[in-house]
C-alpha cells in the first residue's frame, strides 16, 4: 500500500453504486434527439393503419361501407369485425377476466370505440380514407351513471354476457354488474360502528382521469412470412406478457414472436394492456405481408385507452371521543366503463384497494367494491396507482380529515395518535396486508417541524380573522397527508397477470476485460433503469456502474419478466439483480481463492476485490477475476462468469411519506396559488437520490393536475367533454410550483438491498395533499367534502354555497 493506492472511499466512489447521484446514461441520446421511439421506426414497405371510431357512446352498427375508401389510391385494406371473426380475433380477453371487442361487433359501447381499421401507404392516405367510410348507426340509450346502471330496468350494455350470472370474479347481480369483491370482517365492523362514541360518514369521489403520457400508444408489426417470424415493436410496459398473449391469440408459436419495447415516452400505466390497435396492426401485417404501423392521436389516447380511477367511495369511520380510531367501513362503486379491462393481478379485481386502512392501526375494518359497466372507455387501473392504492390513500386521508372535524381535533394530532407504531412492524392490517417496515412518527415529526406546522396554523388563523373582517378575499389551506402504499407486485402464490406469476428477473454476463452486460425483465419508460440497476450491480459485484450495460425490452434476449408498472421494478427486478450479482460474486470468490492459492473461505470481499484474510496486500480485483474466468482452467469450475436470478418476492413493499401543501385560495375567482409543497418520502434504501427526487417532482405534478383540474368528463349522452389538451388539464412550467423534497430511510427487511420503490408514491400522496389543502381552506366554514377536481369554477361554487360571496 502506498500513496498511489486509492482509499476505500475512493474505490467505493469510483463504483458509482448504491446511494450515488449518478448522472444518467440515457441522457446522451435523449438530449441529442437520438432516442428510438416507436414512431421513429421505419421499415421498407411499411404501411400505416388507423381507425374509424364511433361518435356515439351506445349504438348498433347497422352497416359499414368501405367502397369509396377502398377506391382511394394508396388504400390497401379495410378491416372490420367480420374480417377478424374467422381468426377469432374480433374479441380479445382482457387482463381482468372479461372480453372486449377489437372492432365493433354489431354495436359500440363508448365514444371513440374502434369500428374499422384502415390500412394505407401512409398516414395521410389513411386519414383521407377514414373520412370516406360510411357507417350507419342506430343510437341506443346511454348509461353514464354507475348507480343508475344498477337500477331495475336499466339499459343492458353487455348483451354478449347478459344471461351470464357468473363473472370472472363471482356472481353478478345485474346485467350491468361486473363483480362484488370484499375484504375484512363486515359483522365485526358493523358492531364497532354501532357502539362507537363517534362515527363520521362521508362519500369521497375520486374522479375519472387519464395518465396521458406525452407519447401516445403505438406499434409496428412486421410478419416475416419467409422465416415465419412476427416482430412487434410497441409501447409495451410488459413486453413478455404481450408476447405470450400474442402467441395465444394468433396461434404463432412463442419462439417465433419477438416483441420489442424501444424507448417509451412515458407509460404511467397507460401502456400495460393490449389495445385493438396492436391486434389490428398484427393482423394487417399478416394479411398484407408488409410491416404495419399504428400510432394513435391524442384524442384517441384520451378517449379510448386505459383511463384511471372513477371510484365512488362511501366511508364510515368510528372512534373514541378522544380520537382513537376503532373501525373503518368502506363501500365503493367502481365505474369500469364498457369492458372490464382493469390491469390488476387476476385475483384482485379491485387491486390492492384494501390498503385503505392506510398508515393507521385500525383493529377492525371491512371493504366492499362493486364493479359496474357504463358507456365509457375501459380501463381503471393506471396512472401511478399501484393497483387502486391512489384511490385507497385518497379515501383514508379524506376520512381522517372528516373525522378530525367531527372530533374538533387537529388532523395532524389525530394521525399521530393512530399511526402504526414502529414496534408493531411487521404489521398485519385488519384487511390482511403484512406491512414490512415503517417508522411513521419520526417521519411525521420531521415533516411538521420542517414546515413549521404550528407557525402555519397561526398564520392561517390570522388570515381567517382578516377574511372575516373583510380585509382579504383569500383563504389559506394546509393540506396534510401521511400515506402508506403497497408496491412490488408480487408473490407468485397470489399475484399473476393472465396466469404469469409476478416474479421478475436479471441475467448478467461478465466480459473477459472486466465490463458487463445485464438484462432485465422490466422496461423503463423514463425511470432510468439503465443508470440505476447498474448501480445496484456495481455495489454487489465491484465493477464500476460505468462499465455495466443494462438492457431491457427485447423478448428475444431479456429474461422473462412482468414489466414495469406499480413501482415493481426496484422491489422485484432490483432484488433479482442483487441476487444475480451475489451469484456472480460467489463464483468470483472461488476463482479468486484459486488464483491466490488459498481456500474459498480464506478470502473476503472488499468493495471491488477479494483479499486474503489477514493479508490484505494479497488480493484479486474483479477485473483480474473476470479475465481468469475465460483464461484459466480451474478444476471444478466451468469457464465464463455469468448468472441469472428469477425472484419471487416474499411480500410486497410498503413505502410511505409525509406531505404538506400550503395553498392560498381566492374565493372570488376560485384560483388556488400553491405557495409551498413539502414531500418527505421513505422508499427504504435509496439507490440514486437524483432519480428519486425527479420521480417525486414528476408524480407531484401529476397529482397537482389531478386534484386541481384534470378529468375525463362525460355529458349525459356519453360524449367526452375533455378529449383534447385544450380541456384536459396538463400544467405547464408556469402553473407548477417548486417542491421541497426530504426523506427518511427505513429499509425493507425482506428485500436483498432493503429498497422499496418510489415511482408511484408522489401521485399516491400528492393528490390527498392538494385536495386536503383545498378542503382545509374552507374548514372554518363547515366544509366536509367537495369532489375533485378543484378547478376554478368548483372552488368558486364551494365558496358560493358556503355564503362567502356576500
Amino acid at each position: 500500500m502506498n500513496d498511489l493506492t486509492p482509499s476505500r472511499e475512493e474505490r467505493t466512489a469510483n463504483l458509482k453504486g448504491l446511494g450515488c447521484a449518478r448522472k444518467r446514461v440515457e441522457d446522451a441520446r435523449f438530449t441529442q434527439g437520438k432516442g428510438n421511439y416507436v414512431d421513429d421506426i421505419k421499415l421498407p414497405g411499411m404501411l400505416f393503419g388507423d381507425f374509424v371510431r364511433s361518435p356515439y357512446a351506445h349504438a348498433r352498427v347497422i352497416s359499414i361501407n368501405a367502397e369509396a375508401a377502398l377506391a382511394l389510391p394508396g388504400v390497401i385494406a379495410v378491416l372490420t369485425a367480420k374480417d377478424l371473426e374467422p381468426l377469432g380475433l374480433h374479441w380479445m380477453p382482457t387482463l381482468a377476466g372479461d372480453r372486449q371487442m377489437v372492432l365493433a361487433d354489431g354495436k359500440v359501447l363508448f365514444q371513440g370505440q374502434e369500428v374499422a381499421f384502415v390500412v394505407a401507404e401512409n398516414r395521410y392516405v389513411a386519414a383521407d380514407a377514414i373520412e370516406l367510410i360510411e357507417v350507419e348507426y342506430e343510437e341506443l340509450p346511454v348509461v353514464t351513471d354507475p348507480f343508475k346502471a344498477l337500477e331495475d330496468g336499466a339499459t343492458v350494455l353487455r348483451e354478449d354476457i347478459a344471461d351470464k350470472l357468473e363473472g370472472a370474479h363471482g356472481p353478478r347481480r345485474h346485467p350491468n354488474h361486473i363483480f362484488r369483491w370484499e375484504a375484512g370482517d363486515e359483522a365485526a365492523t358493523e358492531a364497532v360502528l354501532a357502539e362507537a362514541e363517534v362515527v363520521a360518514e362521508e362519500t369521497v369521489y375520486y374522479h375519472r382521469t387519464h395518465p396521458c403520457p406525452l407519447e401516445t400508444c403505438g406499434c409496428v408489426a412486421s410478419m416475416d412470412k419467409i422465416n415465419g417470424k412476427l416482430t412487434v415493436w410497441g409501447t409495451f410496459q410488459a413486453p413478455h406478457v404481450v408476447r405470450t398473449v400474442a402467441s395465444l391469440l394468433s396461434g404463432i408459436a412463442e419462439h417465433n414472436i419477438r416483441v420489442v419495447s424501444p424507448d417509451i415516452g412515458g407509460g404511467f400505466g397507460n401502456k400495460v394492456g393490449v389495445y385493438p390497435g396492436y391486434v389490428c396492426a398484427i393482423v394487417a401485417s399478416i394479411v398484407t405481408a408488409r410491416p404495419v404501423k399504428w400510432i394513435e392521436d391524442r384524442m384517441d389516447n384520451l378517449m379510448a385507452t386505459a383511463f384511471a380511477r372513477d371510484y365512488w367511495m362511501k366511508g364510515r369511520i368510528a372512534a373514541t371521543k378522544d380520537g382513537r380510531i376503532t373501525g373503518l367501513w368502506c363501500h365503493t362503486t367502481a365505474d369500469h366503463g364498457a369492458f372490464d379491462a382493469c390491469a390488476d393481478p387476476t385475483k384482485f379485481p379491485a387491486g390492492f384497494f384494501h390498503i385503505c386502512t392506510g398508515s393507521y392501526d385500525i383493529p377492525v375494518a371491512w371493504v366492499g367494491v362493486d364493479g359496474v359497466y357504463t358507456n365509457k372507455a375501459p380501463g381503471g387501473v393506471a396512472y401511478r396507482c399501484s393497483f387502486r392504492v391512489t384511490e385507497a390513500a385518497y379515501f383514508i386521508e379524506r376520512m381522517i380529515e372528516v373525522l378530525a372535524m367531527k372530533l374538533g381535533m387537529d388532523s395532524a394530532e389525530l394521525r399521530a395518535k393512530n399511526f402504526i407504531r414502529k414496534e408493531q412492524f411487521p404489521y398485519t392490517s385488519a384487511l390482511g396486508w403484512e406491512y414490512d417496515s415503517g417508522d411513521y412518527h419520526t417521519a411525521w415529526d420531521k415533516a411538521l417541524k420542517a414546515v413549521d406546522y404550528e407557525g402555519l396554523r397561526r398564520e392561517q388563523a390570522e388570515r381567517l380573522e382578516a377574511f372575516r373582517r373583510g380585509e382579504t378575499r383569500t383563504l389559506m389551506g394546509i393540506g396534510l397527508t401521511f400515506f402508506t402504499e403497497i408496491v412490488g407486485a408480487g408473490p407468485v402464490k397470489n399475484c399473476d397477470i393472465l396466469g404469469m406469476g409476478m416474479f421478475d428477473s436479471c441475467e448478467i454476463r461478465i466480459h473477459p476485460t472486466g465490463s458487463a452486460i445485464a438484462r432485465l425483465g422490466t422496461i423503463s419508460q423514463g425511470q432510468g433503469h439503465a443508470t440505476t440497476f447498474a448501480q445496484i450491480l456495481a455495489s454487489e459485484i465491484g465493477i464500476p456502474a460505468d462499465d455495466i450495460t443494462v438492457e431491457e425490452g427485447d423478448t428475444d434476449t431479456a429474461p422473462y419478466g412482468l414489466g414495469t408498472y406499480g413501482s415493481r421494478s426496484t422491489p422485484v427486478a432490483g432484488a433479482a439483480t442483487a441476487l444475480a450479482g451475489r451469484k456472480i460474486r460467489a463464483k468470483a470468490q472461488m476463482i479468486a481463492a484459486w488464483l491466490l492459492e488459498v481456500h474459498d473461505d480464506d478470502v473476503e470481499w472488499d468493495i471491488d476485490r477479494f483479499a486474503v484474510k489477514g493479508a490484505p496486500e494479497r488480493f484479486k480485483t474483479m477485473k483480474e477475476i473476470a479475465f481468469a474466468a475465460y483464461n484459466q482452467a480451474i478444476p471444478g469450475l466451468e469457464p465464463g462468469l455469468e448468472a441469472v436470478s428469477y425472484y419471487d418476492p416474499p411480500n410486497m413493499t410498503y413505502p410511505f411519506g409525509a406531505y404538506v401543501c400550503v395553498m392560498d385560495i381566492d374565493v372570488d375567482t376560485g384560483t388556488a396559488d400553491i405557495r409551498q409543497f413539502y414531500a418527505l418520502d421513505d422508499c427504504g434504501t435509496r439507490i440514486n437520490p437524483m432519480v428519486i427526487e425527479g420521480q417525486v417532482h414528476g408524480g407531484l405534478t401529476e397529482a397537482l393536475a389531478i386534484a386541481m383540474g384534470q378529468e375525463i368528463a362525460y355529458d349525459e349522452m356519453g360524449n367526452v367533454k375533455t378529449g383534447t389538451l385544450m380541456d384536459f388539464f396538463l400544467p405547464t412550467a408556469w402553473e407548477t410550483p417548486n417542491y421541497v423534497t426530504d426523506w427518511t430511510e427505513t429499509p425493507s427487511p425482506h428485500h436483498p438491498i432493503g429498497a422499496k420503490g418510489v415511482g408511484e408514491s408522489p401521485n399516491v400522496g400528492g393528490v390527498p395533499a392538494f385536495s386536503n389543502a383545498v378542503h382545509d381552506a374552507f374548514r372554518a366554514f363547515g366544509l366536509t367534502q367537495t369532489h375533485m377536481p378543484h378547478d376554478h369554477w368548483r372552488i368558486w361554487q364551494t365558496a358560493n354555497r358556503l355564503g362567502l360571496h356576500g
Binding site: 398516414r123 395521410y124 372570488d668 375567482t669 376560485g670 383540474g709 400544467p731 369554477w793
Partner: protein, 288 residues
C-alpha cells in the same frame, strides 16, 4: 391529425392576393400565422380547395407609431411584444399579447389573424374595441375601413366580405392608463373572462374610459355604459360598482368546461375591477 388537401398559393403582393380570393371565392381561405386555421383543419372541421398564404405580401407588415398607431395585419404577437415604440405608445397591447397562448404560438400568430376570424375566445378583438380601433380592408372594389366596434356580428361572422382581406389595424394613440386582465385555467387557454380597460384622468377625475370584455359572449363586448359609468368620477367604489353592473348587463356568457354562467359573470366582475384599478393607477402615474 391530418389536414385535408388543398392547392397552395403564395401571392407576392396585395393585388395578387385579392385576385386569388375573388377567383376562388368560397373555396378559398387566407392563412396568416395559421395557428387558428391549421388546428381546425387538423381536426377536419374545415376543408376547402385553395389556401392563400399572405406571408409574401410585404404591404401587410410593419408597425408605425405616431399620433396614430398603425399595425400591419401580418404583424406577429411576438413583434407586438418586442416593439419598443409600441411599448411606449400603447403598453396595453404588449400586456395583452403576453397573455395570448404561449411563446411558440406568439411567434407565428398575427394581429390580423386574431382579429379577423371572429373567434370569441381571441383577445385582440376586445382590446381593439376598447381602443376604438379601425380595421382596414382591401377587396376587388378597393379599400374601406370598418370600426372594430362594428366588425363582429356573431361567432365567426364578421363584417369582412368573403373577398376582402384585412390589411391593417389602426387606432389613435391611447391617453391615460390601460390594463388587460385575463383569468384563464392555464397558460395557453382562452379567457374564462378578460377585460381591456383604458382610462384617462385629470385632477383625480376620469375624463375618458373605455371597457371591453372577452369570451363572455359570442362576440367581444364593448360596454359603452360601463365606460360612461366611470367618466366624471374619481374611480371610487360607487363608480366602479356601477361600471361592473353596466358591464354585466351587456355580456351573455355561455356555460362550458370553464364553468357555469353564474361563475363567469362573477369572475367578469372581479376581472373588470382589477383592470379598472390598474388602469386608473397607471393613468394617475402618468404611464399609458
Amino acid at each position: 391529425m391530418i389536414p385535408p388537401a388543398f392547392d397552395y398559393h403564395r401571392p407576392a403582393d396585395l393585388p395578387a392576393a385579392v385576385a386569388l380570393l375573388s377567383e376562388h371565392g368560397e373555396d378559398a381561405r387566407l392563412i396568416a400565422g395559421g395557428h387558428s386555421l391549421i388546428p381546425m383543419m387538423k381536426l377536419r372541421m374545415t376543408a376547402f380547395g385553395h389556401l392563400i398564404d399572405l406571408q409574401g405580401v410585404a404591404a401587410l407588415r410593419g408597425i408605425e407609431v405616431g399620433a396614430t398607431v398603425r399595425i400591419g395585419a401580418m404583424t406577429t404577437q411576438h413583434e407586438i411584444l418586442t416593439h419598443a415604440g409600441l411599448a411606449e405608445a400603447a403598453p396595453i397591447l404588449a400586456e395583452a399579447a403576453r397573455q395570448i397562448a404561449d411563446p411558440q404560438v406568439r411567434y407565428m400568430g398575427t394581429l390580423g389573424g386574431n382579429v379577423a376570424n371572429g373567434d370569441p375566445g381571441n383577445d385582440m378583438p376586445g382590446l381593439m374595441q376598447c381602443l376604438d380601433a379601425t380595421y382596414h380592408l382591401a377587396g376587388p372594389d378597393g379599400e374601406r375601413t370598418v370600426a372594430a366596434r362594428a366588425f363582429y356580428e356573431a361567432a365567426y361572422v364578421t363584417a369582412r366580405a368573403e373577398d376582402e382581406i384585412l390589411t391593417a389595424v389602426s387606432f389613435a394613440r391611447p391617453a391615460g392608463g390601460g390594463a388587460y386582465e385575463k383569468q384563464k385555467r392555464k397558460i395557453g387557454d382562452y379567457a374564462t373572462a378578460a377585460a381591456a380597460v383604458q382610462i384617462a384622468m385629470e385632477g383625480g377625475r376620469v375624463t375618458a374610459a373605455s371597457v371591453a370584455m372577452t369570451n363572455l359572449s359570442d362576440v367581444p363586448v364593448w360596454s359603452e355604459a360601463a365606460g360612461a359609468a366611470l367618466v366624471g368620477s374619481a374611480c371610487d367604489e360607487e363608480a366602479v360598482a356601477a361600471a361592473v353592473a353596466a358591464m354585466l348587463a351587456d355580456i351573455d356568457p355561455a356555460s362550458d368546461n370553464r364553468g357555469p354562467v353564474e361563475f363567469k359573470r362573477h369572475v367578469a366582475g372581479v376581472i373588470l375591477r382589477r383592470a379598472i384599478a390598474r388602469a386608473a393607477d397607471r393613468a394617475e402615474g402618468g404611464q399609458a
